[in-house]
Every structure is written in C-alpha cells, then in structure tokens.
C-alpha cells in the first residue's frame, strides 16, 4: 500500500514537471516573447532591449526554465510585468477567493448530485428519473456564461435580490463576500451537480444490475438494506475519481463565471494577465491551476485507496 501511494505521488510530481515544461515550451514556441508581447507596437530599439535585459530574457531558455521552476517550488514566480509587483503576492488572495468559490460549490453540489443521481437511478426511466436527467442535460450543456447571464437577469435585474456583479476588493475579509458570492456559487454548483449526478446514476444502475445485487434480491434482502448495504458503497466508490476529475475540469468554467460576475478570483486575474500579455503571470497561474488539478486527482486516488478494502488487500497479497 505504501509502495502504491509512493508510486502515485511520484507520478503526480512527474506530471507537474511535465506540465511546467509544456507551459514553458509553449510560451517559447509561440511567436514573440514576454517583452514583444507586453510592449506590443512599442517593442523596438532601446525599450525592447531594456525590457529583455530587466527580465533576463537574453539568457538561454534552459537557464531561465531552471530558474523559473526552482523559484516556483519556493512560491516565487517572479515579477509581473504589468503590475511591477511580486506575482506571488497578487496571486495569493485571488487564489483564496477561487478556492472559496470552488469549495462552497462542491459542498453544495456534490451531496446534491449524489442524492439526485441515486434517486434517478432507483426510479430509472420513470418520472423522477426523467425530470432529473432532463434537467441535468440542460444544466450540464448550457455554457457557464449563459447560465450566469440568465441568473443575473432573473435575480438581480428583475427581482433585485442579489448583486449582479462583485465590487468587493479582492483582499477583503471573507464575510464581505457573502452576498456577492451566492450567484457565482449557484452557477458553478449547477454545472457540477449535473455532471456528477449523471455519473452517479450510471454507476448505481450498473451495480443494481450486477449479479450480487440480483442474488441479494432473490434471497429476499429488504429493499432499503439492499440499497444501502450492497448497492451504494459499491456504486459510489468508483465515482470518487470521476468527481475529482469533474471538479478539476470545471476550473476552466470557473474562469468564465468569475469574469461574468466580476469576481476577483484567479480566473479573472488570468484573463487580465492575458489581456495585457503579462506572460510571467499567465505562466504562474497556469502552473498553479495545473498543480491544483493534479493535487485533486491525487487526493481522490488516495481516498479511493483508503476507502476500498479490495485495493488494499490486493496490494498486500501481491508478492
């Protein structure tokens, strides 16, 4: 088991190293460098030279890569070109805000999704399932910016209940965000719930059709006991990984939601950085988000490993 965990950890670290390589090479391969991108039309003569010298661009790529990654490990991503400040400082509070958004949406979305998924599966092809599944398709497929726009239209423009855009400072204490954050959370939780409930539904249906559940049914095990003791544990375990993957994948959607609501998170910071062609900032955010993704998946793997007795014993019995 320890060996298995160590293997997963090593794989995670390897993936992050590869990602950092892809990010760095990607930025190198694209036409222009950080200075031409940032200065745009003014990128010529003395200004370009000064900029390149200041940001150390004339050193060979490999040296810069090593320096960048070594810095990133210590939490030092260099200086933002646009803001002339340490990237780590700006990113810190924004990261907190995005994490709050993601975590709250997951706390609401995941249990709701599991509940609805189980309901849909147990009443398969009957009214509850049709309702849940159809709504899920709608919620899952409509782009985040569309659902966010409709939410704003209904709850802030027509009903006037909640603020449509966030005007709180990024580094404000948590409680000041309370009313601002409700609509973004709803928008994010909507997509998340829809994706996860579909997986839970399929998983539960698969297990319900399995031989051992049929056997339990034939033996006359009461329905409730069958569902809770035999079906759910086996159906929900494999979804842990999928849930983590989905949440991580939705990080992309969070970016759009943050922009729509003007929410001061990592996503909006990234869009601004891209808009001003602040490549150092973009690289930093890309690496942070990718690490978050790898971390989430790793966490899910370990959780599955701990929760699933089969995986543990399988490991032990192996020579």
């Amino acid at each position: 088991m320890v060996k298995l965990i160590a293997r997963r950890l090593a794989l995670g670290v390897l993936t992050i190293m590869l990602v950092s390589g892809i990010i760095f090479v990607g930025v190198e391969v694209l036409p222009g460098d950080a200075c031409t991108a940032y200065l745009q039309r003014a990128a010529q003569g003395k200004r370009l030279e000064n900029c390149r010298r200041d940001s150390g661009l004339e050193r060979p790529a490999l040296t810069r890569y090593v320096k960048w990654t070594l810095g990133a490990v210590r939490g030092d991503f260099g200086v933002s070109m646009k803001r002339k400040t340490l990237i780590s400082k700006t990113v810190g509070t924004r990261f907190r805000n995005t994490v709050i958004l993601g975590v709250t949406a997951s706390i609401i979305g995941v249990p709701l999704a599991i509940l609805l998924g189980i309901i849909a599966a147990l009443w398969r092809d009957r009214l509850p399932d049709l309702w849940v599944s159809t709504t899920a398709i709608f919620a899952m497929t409509i782009p985040e910016f569309v659902s966010s726009t409709v939410l704003i239209l209904i709850f802030s423009v027509w009903l006037g209940w909640l603020p449509g855009i966030v005007i709180t400072r990024p580094d404000a204490p948590l409680f000041e965000f309370l009313s601002d954050i409700i609509l973004p959370i709803v928008a994010l939780a909507l997509v998340m719930t829809a994706h996860i409930l579909r997986m839970v539904r399929t998983s539960v249906i698969d297990v319900m059709a399995s031989d051992y559940v049929q056997m339990a049914r034939l033996k006359g095990v009461p329905y409730g006991q069958m569902v809770f003791r035999h079906v759910l544990p086996n159906a929900l375990l494999p979804t842990i990984n999928l849930v983590a993957l989905t949440i991580a994948w939705l990080l992309g959607g969070t970016i759009v939601i943050e922009v729509v609501f003007n929410y001061p998170g990592l996503g909006r910071l990234m869009l601004q950085a891209i808009f001003f062609r602040d490549l150092a900032m973009v690289q930093a955010i890309a690496l942070i988000l990718a690490t978050l993704y790898v971390g989430l998946n790793l966490f899910a793997d370990l959780l599955t490993l701990v929760a699933n007795p089969r995986l543990r014993t399988m490991q032990r019995s192996r020579p």
């Binding site: 390589g21 409509i142 990234m270 990718a290």
Partner: protein, 298 residues
C-alpha cells in the same frame, strides 16, 4: 468503456448502411429525435440564413436603438440599432463552421494516434500518454486564450487550435478502445495471416473503434461549441461586426436591464443548439451501447 456494441459487428463494406441504421435507431428515441431535429434545424438555418435574413446584419440605425420586439423587428434591436432577429439567425454560422471542422480534425488526428498507440504500445506509448496526461492538467480555456492572444484569432487559427487541443483527450479514448479490440481473436488472426500493420489498422481496428470515435466526436463537438462561444464571449473568438452568439450575449449584457431581448435571443439560440448536440450524442451513445455518462468530461 467497452468497444462491444448492441448492433452487429461490422465488415468494412457495411459502414454506410450501418450509419443509416444507427441514424434510424436514434430517431426512434424521443430524446434523439428532439436532438437531431434541433441540430438539423440549426445546420439548415446556418446554410440558408444569408439568403432569408430580413435585414443586413451590420446595418446601423440611430432611430431604432434598443427597440422592443415589434412586427418589423421580431426580436427587437440592439444598442446600435441592428436587427437582433437577423443577427441571431446568422450568429451560429461561424461557430458551427469552426467547431465542425475542428471536430473532424480532432477526431481524425486524435483517433489515428490513439489507435496507433494502442496497437504499438511499448516505450512510445508510455512517453506520449504521460504527455497527454500533463496536457489535460492545463485548464482548457487558458491554453486556448494563450494561443489566440499570441497567434491571432482568425477562423483558421481557431480551427487549428480547437482541433489540436480537443484531439488530445480523443487519443486517450481511441487508445483505450483499441486495447479492447486488439486482444480479440480476429486481430490475432489477422496478425497470424501476416497482414501488414496498415491493413490491420484500416480493416480491423478503424471499423471497430469507429463507434467510440463517433460518440466521442459528438461529445467533443458540444464542448468545442461551448469553448468557442466562451472565447467569443470573453472577446477572443469571433471579431465584431461578425454576428456571433457569444459576442452578442457579451455585448447585450451591458444593457440587459432595459433590453433583455437582445440577450435572450442569442441565449436561446446557443442553448438550443448545444442541447440538441448533447441529446443527439446521448442517443448515439445509447444506440451504439457506449455509455458516456460514466466518464469524466476530460
């Protein structure tokens, strides 16, 4: 993920007959019917809309700014006095064109590489799959934005970018599907007959992995549409004055409180197309016996 299907395994000659059978099977399901009708409606609309649109999509008029829906302007007018009905009709053309071509591109290159990796395996497979995993860790929107900002946002660039990036997850799917097929007897038999590798790929693997690729393609198509319109919404996709739903929604947001029709029309149009594609993809997956709800949307 299984590569086996409800419908009989195919000989390569029967591919088109079978596609027809699949289409009919999809039409026999209510959700598939709704989905296919929506998709067909949007495709037809995209083709004929330039001929039947009542107004010029870039015609400005100071007199009719933000007019409510009326008999002349069915969906009202926007902040520059342009007819929202016309722009909504035309608004899906670029999105459909770009995403359709990119989907074909993604499925083709991702599918082939995936089949090859599944067949060949070994060191190359190991290395490339690590790279694929690493690529999938990057938030999709960041990669798209970065490329568009550095290279430019013409339709050509968007097609190549989307086609490349969305082909990466296809590699994984095609590889997994190939692994299921490679172990079957008919591939072993082909190998024993001494068939060349290209014959095995074309005659044995491609027809049997095609189902998975089709479902994957339908699914990717809807994600791409989502990505394309998100890019447009953020100001990095279609460029004004091109009528595009994402762009129109982003523009209409600023005067949404007194002219909601300008936002609602493209919202409904975009949503109906995406839902149509997804319903079709779901029906296709069910008809082919591949359940797509069981995987994460990576």
């Amino acid at each position: 993920m299984r590569a086996t299907t409800n419908i009989e395994p195919v000989k390569p000659e029967g591919v088109f007959v079978r596609l027809l059978a699949v289409l009919l099977a999809m039409l026999s399901r209510p959700s598939g019917r709704v989905g296919l009708i929506l998709v067909a409606f949007h495709v037809v609309l995209a083709i004929v809309s330039p001929a039947i649109a009542p107004y010029d999509f870039k015609e400005l008029s100071a007199q009719i700014i933000l007019n409510a829906p009326s008999s002349e302007h069915w969906f009202g007018t926007d902040n520059l006095g342009r007819d929202v009905f016309t722009r909504t009709m035309l608004g899906g053309r670029q999105a459909l064109l770009v995403t359709t071509v990119s989907t074909v591109l993604a499925i083709t290159w991702g599918g082939f590489l995936g089949i090859l990796l599944g067949l060949v395996g070994r060191r190359l497979d190991e290395i490339l799959m690590r790279l694929v995993d690493a690529f999938l860790c990057l938030p999709w929107i960041l990669v798209l934005l970065l490329i568009v900002v550095m290279v430019g946002s013409g339709p050509g660039v968007l097609i190549l970018t989307l086609g490349f990036f969305y082909g990466i997850p296809v590699i994984r799917m095609a590889r997994a599907a190939t692994h299921d097929v490679v172990a079957l007897d008919f591939v072993t038999a082909a190998r024993a007959r001494g068939e060349s590798r290209s014959t095995i790929v074309w005659r044995e693997l491609v027809p049997n992995v095609l189902d998975v690729l089709l479902v994957e393609g339908a699914m990717r198509w809807s994600w791409m549409l989502l990505a394309f319109s998100s890019l447009s919404f953020l100001g990095f996709g279609a460029t004004p004055p091109t009528p595009d739903w994402g762009l129109m929604i982003s523009n209409a947001r600023s005067f949404m409180s007194f002219a909601p029709w300008a936002a609602l029309a493209p919202v409904v149009a975009l949503s109906s197309l995406i839902i149509g594609i997804n319903l079709s993809a779901d029906a296709l997956a069910k008809v082919l016996g591949i359940d797509r709800a069981q995987k994460a949307p990576v």
